[in-house]
């Protein structure tokens, strides 16, 4: 039953994704869609480690920025995008592994963990921000401080630096990447590793007493989340064709957390929906000039927490269940999950 369920879920995911990728460009410009997809991936990266691993990271933006900067710097030096893309995944993962090992073997938890990740993000932000001088150079790439790095080689067909992938094709590349990442996350959560991660989220001491090396497993999960964030960062760099220290900013980190909560923590879809939805909302808001946009964004957040605290996806799921009556499935693990987070 388990294998069959998994197969069907993959199939459903693929069909829904294909439909969305086909239909969405009819409604929203692909350029905007691309960044929504990228933010979705970024949201998923935190949704994975926080929603399923219980690691509240205030600095997911650090890995996003690190991915983007790694890509930009490597692309300037190499002039072809394949290796920079790989580096943009590996460097944040490695950085997260070191940072994670430092934190988790030090038995830091909840709010203290939050502060460390926040502080590390601030350090990166301040460092990158103060690299305007000509002495800050990595190979050919000037770090550029506050103004960031423009003008690097953007994504090309692997092996052919002149065959750029941009515009509509770039949207399809990003969308397919997101689907792949989503399926990988699904697979990961179904695997023993994922189930153990959820166990750790629920009760670290118990899992340690069962003989699991909690610190090591959290470190690995943290690094996986960072790798996904790094990939999102590299895709973002390609999309914007410029990287700036803002990617590392506290505001960016906070936004990722907000995406997860608004979308629904503890679900895979929630953070993606939250990210894409809120980013699109921001995009729409910028087209009006009646009321201060900061004010509107703030109000929406407050109302959300007060009236829809579980997030969109669980709320919609609950609504659907109540409309269509009892689910035809027997009380399966899937339903359990909803109960738990709903």
């Amino acid at each position: 039953m388990r294998a069959g369920g998994a197969g069907r879920e993959v199939l459903v995911t693929l069909v829904v994704a294909a439909l969305l990728i086909w239909l969405m460009p009819l409604v929203i410009g692909t350029y905007t869609l691309t960044v929504l997809v990228i933010y979705g991936m970024l949201g998923l990266s935190l949704g994975l480690i926080w929603g399923f691993g219980g690691i509240l990271c205030f600095g997911q933006a650090a890995f996003f920025g690190l991915g983007a900067y790694t890509y930009a710097i490597a692309a300037i030096n190499i002039g072809e995008s394949t290796v920079p893309m790989i580096l943009a995944v590996l460097v944040p993962a490695l950085f997260a592994a070191l940072l994670g090992a430092m934190m988790f073997y030090g038995r830091l938890t909840d709010v203290y963990l939050g502060v460390i990740t926040l502080v590390v993000t601030l350090i990166l932000f301040k460092f990158v921000n103060s690299t305007a001088g000509p002495q800050y150079k990595i190979g050919e790439a000037r770090l550029g401080g506050f103004n960031g790095i423009p003008g690097f080689q953007t994504l090309n067909v692997p092996g052919d630096p002149d065959a750029y992938i941009w515009g509509d094709p770039y949207f399809y590349v990003c969308a397919v990447m997101l689907v792949i990442v989503f399926l990988l996350v699904t697979w990961l959560l179904r695997s023993s590793f994922g189930r153990i991660a959820v166990g750790i989220r629920e009760n670290e001491v118990r899992m340690a007493l069962m003989g699991y090396d909690v610190a090591a497993r959290k470190t690995v999960l943290f690094a996986i989340g960072a790798a996904i964030a790094g990939l999102a960062g590299a895709l973002f760099a390609n999309w914007g064709e410029i990287v700036t220290p803002n990617l590392f900013s506290l505001g960016q980190s906070a936004e990722i957390i907000i995406w997860c909560i608004v979308g629904g923590l503890g679900t895979r879809l929630g953070p993606i929906v939250g990210a894409a939805g809120l980013a699109y909302l921001k995009f729409l808001l910028g087209q009006q000039s009646m009321i201060d946009n900061t004010l509107i964004t703030g109000l929406i957040l407050v109302l959300f927490v007060l009236f829809l605290p579980r997030g969109l996806v669980p709320a919609i799921a609950a609504l659907l269940t109540s409309i269509f009556g009892r689910s035809r499935r027997k009380p399966s693990a899937r339903r359990m999950r909803r109960l738990r987070h709903g």
Binding site: L56, M102, M103, G106, R107, L108, T109, D110, V111, Y112, G114, V115, I116, L118, V119, V120, L122, I123, K126, F127, S130, L250, A254, I257, I258, I261, I291, D292, N293, T294, L295, I296, T297, G298, L299, I300, L301, V302, F304, V305, L306, P309
Partner: protein, 288 residues
């Protein structure tokens, strides 16, 4: 010699201003386990309240020390009743809600005050120490934060409200069991915390260029100071503000302000790594 004195004053000032900007957050976090991400905006509003009062002809010290804390405390009270009280015990949700509130306040301040508000000058003149001019107002800030710490201590130690507060900090359910409504305790706490934030914003207003987005500059520092301090309110606040203030000033003078800030942040990482429960989680256990 003169320079040594100047550096000493700057260090004291750095510690004092950290205490000042963190006190409001520390009270709210220590008592209610609520992280108020609108703390910086409460400070910003304290600044605007002061400027407005001064422009209306109120004495600047009255404006800073009385009006601003009252105004911001009342705003805090409204916020607590409308939003926070629905979210007790949900750390992350309160953070999200207060983040939203901070944006609302920025928006409101922009609509009301615009983004060019003439500030107020420091009411205390600078003076000379040997060959150096120093900011006389620094001493005022140092004095205010010392009084603030003594004041919090006196309230917690010497009053009935303080006793209840200490009980709540140890075990929130105990106070309820003793017949004190947690609702009212939380309301009072949030009022006090907001008032302290307002006070900090007011006192610092003559030293900074006040714009609606000013609050963002404080929240991270205050947050780090409070968490690094650990569970004990006063001992935690003072010890972490002292460590961070001194370290950042040493590096600021020796190298540059950026390195000073980075040194502060690195100190925070090292500190939390070696003392995962904050300074007072390890030392000063059970103290205030």
């Amino acid at each position: 010699m003169d320079l040594t004195f100047v550096i000493l004053v700057e260090m004291l000032y750095a510690v004092a201003s950290l205490v000042l900007i963190s006190a409001g957050l520390a009270v709210v976090f220590g008592m209610m386990k609520v992280i108020n991400l609108a703390h910086g905006e409460f400070m910003m509003m304290g600044g605007y309240a002061t400027i407005t009062a001064v422009n209306l002809g109120v004495n600047v010290f009255v404006a800073m020390l009385v009006i601003a804390p009252l105004v911001v405390g009342l705003i805090g009270l409204v916020v607590e009743r409308l939003v926070i009280r629905h979210l007790y015990g949900r750390l992350v949700d309160t953070m999200l809600a207060t983040w939203g509130l901070s944006l609302v306040f920025i928006g409101l301040a922009t609509m009301i005050f615009g983004n060019t508000t003439t500030g107020i000058s420091t009411p205390i003149p600078g003076f000379a120490v040997g060959g150096y001019q120093i900011n006389g107002y620094n001493f005022f800030i140092i004095v205010v934060s010392i009084l603030l710490v003594i004041g919090i201590y006196a309230v917690l130690r010497g009053t009935r409200a303080g006793l209840i507060a200490r009980g709540t900090m140890q075990r929130a359910d105990m106070a309820a069991a003793l017949g004190y409504s947690p609702d009212r305790i939380y309301m009072a706490t949030f009022f006090c915390g907001s008032a302290l934030s307002g006070l900090a914003g007011a006192v610092l207003a003559p030293l900074v260029g006040l714009v609606p987005t000013s609050g963002g500059a404080y929240i991270a520092k205050a947050f780090i100071t409070v968490i690094a301090g650990g569970p004990s309110l006063i001992a935690g606040l003072v010890s972490s503000a002292t460590s961070f203030g001194v370290i950042s000033q040493i590096f600021t003078f020796a190298i540059s302000p950026v390195i000073g800030e980075v040194a502060l942040l690195i100190a925070a990482v090292v500190l939390l790594r070696t003392m995962p429960q904050g300074i007072t989680g390890r030392f000063f256990k059970g103290k205030l």
